[in-house]
Point group: C2
Chain length 591, copies 2
Amino acid sequence: MYRTKTNGELRLTDVGCEVTLAGWVQRTRKMGGMTFVDLRDRYGITQIVFNNEINAELTEAANRLGREFVVQVEGTVAERQSKNPNMPTGEIEVIASGLRILSPSATPPFTIEDNTDGGDDLRMKYRYLDLRRNAVRANLELRHRMTILIRNFLDSRDFIEVETPILIGSTPEGARDFVVPSRMNPGQFYALPQSPQTLKQLLMVAGFDRYFQIAKCFRDEDLRADRQPEFTQIDCEMSFVDQEDVLEIFEDMARHLFKEIRGVDLPAKLRQMTWHDAMRLYGSDKPDLRFGMTFVELKDVLPQGKFAVVDDAAYVGGICVPGCADYSRKQLDELTNFVKRPQIGAKGLIYIKYNTDGTIKSSVDKFYDADDLLKVKQAMGANDGDLVLILSGDNANKTRVQLCSLRLEMGERLGLRDKNRFECLWIVDFPLFEWSDEEQRLMATHHPFTMPNPDDIPMLETAPERVRAMAYDFVCNGIEVGGGSLRIHDGELQEKMFEILGFTPERAMAQFDFLINAFKYGAPPHAGLAFGLDRFVSIMAGLDSIRDCIAFPKNNSGRDVMLDAPSAIAQEQLDELYIDLDNDRLRALKG
Amino acid sequence: MYRTKTNGELRLTDVGCEVTLAGWVQRTRKMGGMTFVDLRDRYGITQIVFNNEINAELTEAANRLGREFVVQVEGTVAERQSKNPNMPTGEIEVIASGLRILSPSATPPFTIEDNTDGGDDLRMKYRYLDLRRNAVRANLELRHRMTILIRNFLDSRDFIEVETPILIGSTPEGARDFVVPSRMNPGQFYALPQSPQTLKQLLMVAGFDRYFQIAKCFRDEDLRADRQPEFTQIDCEMSFVDQEDVLEIFEDMARHLFKEIRGVDLPAKLRQMTWHDAMRLYGSDKPDLRFGMTFVELKDVLPQGKFAVVDDAAYVGGICVPGCADYSRKQLDELTNFVKRPQIGAKGLIYIKYNTDGTIKSSVDKFYDADDLLKVKQAMGANDGDLVLILSGDNANKTRVQLCSLRLEMGERLGLRDKNRFECLWIVDFPLFEWSDEEQRLMATHHPFTMPNPDDIPMLETAPERVRAMAYDFVCNGIEVGGGSLRIHDGELQEKMFEILGFTPERAMAQFDFLINAFKYGAPPHAGLAFGLDRFVSIMAGLDSIRDCIAFPKNNSGRDVMLDAPSAIAQEQLDELYIDLDNDRLRALKG
């Protein structure tokens, strides 16, 4: 061992002890005949003192140390004269009697400080240096702690962790698979799992009763903000349970995590909101409940025949922004521009200021009289001093989604999206299907194995779009952290689902024969859920991006810039796999 | 919840309770007016009783249940008249008052019993049924328990689990990589990691100090017995440690596991054997120490000039098989045939029987006199009644390996390889390089990042084949369970290693620039080790194959026969990836 103590553990009680420390040079300071070195490791920082009067040679050596040198120091723990209450080791220092350079360092391309001077690209290229920063390492320590807590929690509830394979078969339904050519089976490909969905259902058929896995999953999708081609799920499945059983156990898990990690007590029972209510009140299936401003529908509140925009709209909805009646023209223009951005796509914004002096000022004063606007005030529950913002449109759900963006923007502006508050809820009663404009057919909202609500099964043939799923999402602070469903365990019902989704029986068998066959041998009722670990950690850590809780993340082009992967491979490797690059099209691509 | 109790928990103290159970029908038996159903779940089996006199309709329904039906039963716990002491629930039964079929079952293709009638292929195709068997599920439960113990142990020793990426860059050194074409980076490929080796070294550079990960690893090798294309490692790395520190901590971990899982106390300090001694005494770098029969070199014991085979051999070595002097001609012929098999490749076998009556009988009686053979007896430490088996050859190490096979065969025949005994040791002082006949160059015995023994560094240029590595293997019962090394943390030494391994500086940089660069910014001394989880579990479970502790293993062709993967993919998928199948060569391959 190169050390007898870490740099985080020495205290006043250790004064007088001989110690050996090792770590990185955070900084050196010369003061008179003294040289101070801050020695850093994962556990903390300890101040090392070299005294020129006592040992000139050693002090000279210390003076030559550069930032990030790795050194070993021998010395005696002493009480500091000027203590630093901001660091756990701040009451002591180590008077050096020996110094050994274990590894010199070139000058790092950015400073290893919480607030570094390194930009994103540089930090990713030198991720091994970025990871030296306390702020980044703390996220990964938190991630570790969360997985330990999760595993022990699930173990205590009789869940078994089972590793499912990474090299599986390709299933074109859903997102795009990454594929892996098989050398031993030339011309054939494995696929990397988008999730262990079917395999965990097979484990239920196998009687495993309670399964979990902290599982790597893969999706070859174009990477929008905060997506990674590989991501990690806390993947769970249980047998002989109803929806309430699943919600209860995973609420317990979330409660345990929030308590242990953040010291936060979630309520004894989380709120459950139907998908329909979530859309109606928040325009989102992942509402942020840290603040109000729920939607109020105004179509029937505003009188007809006065303003064509409102009259012709399929949906008119507003939010009441408390205390913002004093918004300036400029601020209101900003909001109008915000909702008109292409990403949001509203045509315009109606505002009504209910001023503190009782007067009303709105962008629709020429259409509606004070009486009309007072009706709105009442409907909205607005008080004097509040600002009401209204959107209208000819597609109700699209307009709700626009209003949702506005609501979140207002929450942001008013500082209501506090990262240290956690508002969790379940969204339930999702629609089983959703219409895909792209595919011109019904698609499974979750996946084709989701159980319909038994009450709605008669509508499967007649009004499938109205059938509710036994599906649920776990939402925290406006982010979908987890989701799952009861599964179909009846082969016939499963076949009907495939039929509604437009699978021919042949195609269903070609893709899912193992599952369809498995259901013939006694499938138990089962249900499951998966949490996105990256997202769960980032919420707990108060991060804006999942990237900051991943050791070696990829950029928006799916590249690891540190490893410079992906990259070209040798022709012999291609030959062994019986594949060729499509060089004509590649050349055309490069222009 | 479909049940109030599991099938493993009811006891005499529950008599009189109303319960609801759910599970699979293991078997039904009709006895007079009674029908007995054994209801099974992961937790156990409970006997359910239907009484025709009390409820004829219910009993009739029970009589129609087939094997593996999934049912829900309501009833009252009662004391059994004839108790079954072999099962934990054997003192009670449940008198049924309700029965509901949750899922019928077709007749399974093999019986769901510990000793099933299903062959290997059938069991793999219907793995979800095979996994219902207690014996198979118990292996996976053990695997789960081991990983929980391992994680909590390492956590308690300040190790952080860090997930490293699965999509990384291809490094042609070592085994063959699986590659993944990148759609977003056309013409380029990711590789799946053979191990997180370089990434964990970067984590040490990043100051993580103690890292572990239970990590999926991938090797596209032809699958010999007991290899899988994807396998799981307990992958660890530590900073500021010497070899003894690493051995101590992982010995502690092994001790903890053996104690918790098997109730076995490993010795307070494990034996360390040099690679050289292991080869000399056991002809193997993974000796099975559950029995003796260590090698004795006889070249200098037998007189020269009497038997050309011995005279001309570079190596003559024997083992003493206790109490086997009474082996018959037939048995000795079997052993001769055994060592002459092509997989072993010896030219012949010399035997000497030291009979209990003091006489000696050998296959070399016409060459050596009794005095010669008594010298052998003394050298071997043989007693009357023992059988000495001798191999000779012109390549010492090859002959030792042959003699190792013979030793293990004798251990097997004498029942000395007891699966309930565990003999663990460390092999140390491996050679840093080994000569590759295939490549006609020195190869790294472990990998190119292994630290040479500091005492041997002067020999790096002059006699590299004699340089010892700071490398160590953890061996249990003749199986290499883990291995690792101190790593080079000095860029210059690393460059010298690449040079000796025949890398040009350009090629070294092309493949390992991120690591070589990282070492310029203060790399701590570090070391690590990885255990093969599949192998560790299979030893703990007393299994012959790692396959039995993997939920969904692949066969020798790398196929998952249940999922039928790998398989052909759609032309559109190939097009998106800018690759083509090499159809000409594929056609030629298929003949």
